[in-house]
């Protein structure tokens, strides 16, 4: 039997490509060139599977890919999937839950400490040669230990952050979630509150919800106004869950103390985004899961999901809506 043909749209490690090639015939994008949608449509017209990061899977693409059976995301977020369209064309979509949780939780603790303790500011000034004796108080920050962390969206990554924050840093954990998370309540003494209460009581507000129609811009003007003036806002999920204009406004008006952001409404973000000018904002280029080990594991997980679906129509990686 001939091997199914699949499309590798983003670079994967060699051993992952080798694994895929044992089961599939591979077409790869030429990674020396920027991606163009027309070129992609040309390729997908006769493939059965796609492995990719962030490629928009919608009516437009699906209508040109008659043989397609599965799209495998090398990411945990899957807001690039048009779920209804995929259902209509009977396409399975997979993501990489679990693999990256600890690495993303590290990034989040890094953002919390770096924004609260103003490490980036201090380092930049020091490198510029601006350190006079006795001016350490310029960089006085906010204590992390024993402060209050509010987590909006208590899933697996939220739990990994709660473990670090509560067991490690003795922080009080408040959370809001569609459903109660009893494991987090038992293990990390997490306190279930309304979203408004979480916003108004926390020293650090962390948004961890996946992006959906309901969560689009759900952090807006009203929500930032509810936050404490000495509180920091942290986002490492998806940029569009935050109304970035409202965030900029809140920072300009000193309604909050600062922010730590790994994600933006548009990525890469525009060079004239006012957030890039702000001392009290830590900006990262969407590196939540970016360690070699985790990215390798994610690529392997996605490759296995792709092959599993093509061979057995089964995988732990299939997203809930398409199971």
């Amino acid at each position: 039997m001939s091997k199914p043909k699949i499309f590798i749209a983003n670079p994967v490690p060699n051993h992952v490509e080798e694994y895929i090639s044992n089961h599939c015939e591979i077409v790869k994008w030429d990674f020396t060139k920027p991606k163009d949608f027309q070129g992609i449509l040309e390729i997908v017209k006769d493939v059965e599977g796609i492995i990719e990061v962030g490629l928009k899977i919608d009516e437009n693409l699906l209508s040109k890919a008659p043989k397609l059976k599965v799209v495998s995301n090398i990411s945990v977020g899957y807001n690039n999937f048009d779920i209804e369209a995929m259902k209509k064309y009977n396409i399975i979509g997979t993501n990489t839950p679990g693999v990256l949780d600890e690495t993303v939780a590290d990034t989040i603790m890094g953002l919390i400490i770096n924004s609260g303790r103003r490490l980036c500011e201090a380092e930049r000034d020091l490198r510029a040669g601006n350190w006079e004796k006795g001016d350490g108080d310029k960089y006085f920050g906010k204590d992390i230990h024993h402060s209050t962390l509010g987590i909006i969206g208590m899933g697996r990554i939220g739990e990994c952050v709660a473990r670090r924050a509560h067991l490690g840093f003795k922080m009080d954990i408040l959370y809001y979630n569609r459903r109660r998370n009893e494991a987090a309540e038992t293990k990390y003494n997490a306190n279930y509150l309304t979203m408004d209460e979480v916003l108004s009581k926390s020293d650090f507000v962390l948004v961890m919800t996946p992006l959906s129609d309901e969560t689009y811009h759900f952090m807006g003007e009203r929500e930032f106004k509810l936050m404490r003036k000495d509180a920091f806002f942290i986002n490492a999920s998806r940029g569009q869950v935050v109304d970035e204009k409202a965030l900029i406004e809140a920072l300009n008006n000193k309604e909050i103390a600062g922010a730590g952001l790994d994600v933006f409404e548009k990525e890469p973000t525009d060079k004239d985004n006012p957030l890039l000018k702000m001392e009290n904002v830590v900006t990262l280029p969407h590196i939540g899961s970016a360690t070699q080990k985790t990215r390798d594991e994610m690529a392997m997980f996605a490759a296995k999901a792709l092959v599993d679906v093509l061979q057995n129509k089964k995988s732990d990686g299939i997203v809930p809506e398409l199971r």
Partner: protein, 323 residues
């Protein structure tokens, strides 16, 4: 009865200054200008005690301060004390153990993540408008979870770092210390190893020894050559425990991956120090204990030690060498 005379040689919060005024005939320096040693000498001549931060308490100062009985250091470190000279003159030194431990431990973790995940560098990268595409593998960093932390000097701060890393980040934690700490080994699943073994097997080496003759340059050429090529050094204790020339050499030759430094052999650091030019080094200006709350707690502690000694005739927070 008249109040004893005392000197406040470092600016503290208003309430603390008022508290000192209540108990002493208090002099202060002119805090609008940088601290000058000569000004302190001039004002120390007729006081029985002083609250200081970083002022060298040496033979010269003790010669001027004929009536001195006690010096209260605002910080926990007291390498500004010439201990032998103080003992000879019968001047007691106090410090503030315990107060800043959690705040410093937070900063250690901040430096570990910032160095491992290149946070200050990537913040600058985004802010400079250099973020032009996704998927840059040079943005990749090092995982905390699953890696090994080696702590040299397991005192109170070490214990708090161990707690964060072992219970919070699920890291393997090993340590070396003059004496074993069975309680910590058990409660935090921490393992005692020989000094060289620690250097050879740790992904992150955190040095937390106080500065003494035996710990000066405890990390030098030999030690860096033992460390793993992908390891990271963190120093927030005192600069001279590390041989800075050997560290620079190790970083330049790739003997270690990077360093997160809050302290230096010379402070403020010399503007030409090569460390300030290195991408794989995070440099901050001795602010590991720098939060509003902790500095306030430290100053309260020093003020109370002074009052206790001179008003209540009770010595508290005396440095171990003078107990």
């Amino acid at each position: 009865m008249s109040k004893p005379k005392a000197l406040l040689a470092y600016p503290v919060a208003k309430e603390i200054q008022e508290y000192l005024h209540e108990h002493f005939d208090l002099k202060t320096l002119d805090f609008t200008n940088p601290q000058k040693y000569e000004d302190i000498l001039e004002k120390i001549t007729d006081v029985e005690g002083a609250v200081v931060l970083g002022t060298p308490i040496d033979k010269t100062l003790l010669e001027y301060g004929k009536k001195l009985k006690v010096i209260s250091n605002i910080t926990v470190g007291y390498n500004n004390f010439d201990i032998d000279a103080m003992i000879e003159k019968g001047v007691v030194g106090t410090h503030s153990p315990g107060v800043l431990d959690n705040t410093v431990a937070d900063y250690v973790i901040g430096l570990m993540i910032a160095t491992g995940r290149k946070i200050t560098q990537l913040n600058q990268f985004v802010k400079n408008g250099q973020w032009e595409r996704m998927d840059n593998s040079y943005l990749f960093g090092k995982d905390m979870t699953g890696s090994t932390l080696g702590i040299i000097g397991m005192g109170r701060i070490g214990e708090m770092v161990a707690k964060r890393c072992s219970l919070g980040f699920d890291m393997k934690v090993i340590y070396n210390n003059r004496s074993r700490k069975p309680n910590i080994e058990e409660s935090m699943n921490v393992q005692y190893v020989e000094f060289d073994q620690l250097l050879k097997t740790s992904d992150y080496v955190v040095i937390l020894t106080p500065l003494t003759e035996s710990t000066q340059h405890i990390l030098s050429y030999r030690e860096f050559s033992l460390m793993k090529k992908d390891s990271i050094l963190i120093n927030v204790s005192r600069g001279p425990v590390v041989d800075e020339r050997a560290l620079i050499d190790a970083l330049e030759r790739g003997l270690i991956l990077g360093a997160g430094l809050d302290v230096y052999e010379q402070e403020p650091i010399h503007k030409d120090n090569p460390l300030l030019k290195m991408d794989n080094v995070i440099t901050t200006p001795h602010i590991a204990a720098g939060t509003e709350k902790t500095m306030n707690d430290l100053a309260w502690n020093a003020a109370k030690s002074l009052v206790s000694f001179l008003v209540d005739n009770k010595a508290i927070n005396v440095i171990p060498e003078m107990k």
